[in-house]
Amino acid sequence: MSKQRILEFLIGLLFGLGLMVSGMTDPGKIIGFLDLFGTWDPSLAFVMAGAVLVGALAFAVARRRTSTLLGGAFDLPWSRDIDSRLIAGSVVFGVGWGLAGFCPGPALVSLGTGNLKAVVFVLAMLAGMAVFELLEGRMRRTAGATT
């Protein structure tokens, strides 16, 4: 195990603990937050506020630097497109999020509790991601054949 792998493990652990402390790993709480037309639990707005507060500082520091603290290169998203893919994909994700109360991070964390329902959700999620890879690969080949 290199130092870098241990670092990634520890950051994953910290992120997982943050998800647990904040209440994000409780599907009932997520659905309570999304239940704007019922009895609404605004807690998750506080999760977002806390995370974005610290995150914004980090990105402000990153913008002033040419390399990471370990001397590596920054690899930040470059796309600025607001297209149908972004919106349709987000809507499909939101429907799944509302149905189960799980988004990807909390679902993976819940694997660690040994809950069988979390296992089913994560397997289905990985299957969905694999479907994306297949369709994406096929589209790329078709695009390559026509040009």
């Binding site: 670092l7 603990l17 920054f74 809507v91």
Partner: protein, 143 residues
Amino acid sequence: MTIDWNHFTPWASLAGGLLLGLATAAFILLNGRVLGISGIAGGLVRLRRHDTLWRLAFVLGLVTAPLVYALLAAPVAPRIDAGWGTLAVAGLLVGVGTRYASGCTSGHGVCGLSRLSPRSLVATLAFMAAGVITVATVRHLLA
């Protein structure tokens, strides 16, 4: 709309959010990447050389969190109300949707909003709106 004061946890949620921010900050400043769970997990079904181990290390950290939480605080068992079929369908939708949108609650929500990315703001509003409409439909229209 009425506020659910019984389940409202502003301080715990804020504290958890700060931890999420801290992990996000460490990832960006040390690894140079945005911390997006769907992107990290999505790369695991694509097995490329030199691209899998760091993803596994990170996901292993996530999965270890409940064990560490049990040692520091108390063991937790998630309350998952959805049935098996609903969970399977929801999982598929979350998997396909987050990959098409290139991000989820962490990548677009936390990182995107932290970088003031208009693209991520649109994505976040779209998945939040879809989530709200879904819950309203399941809980109030169909129930």
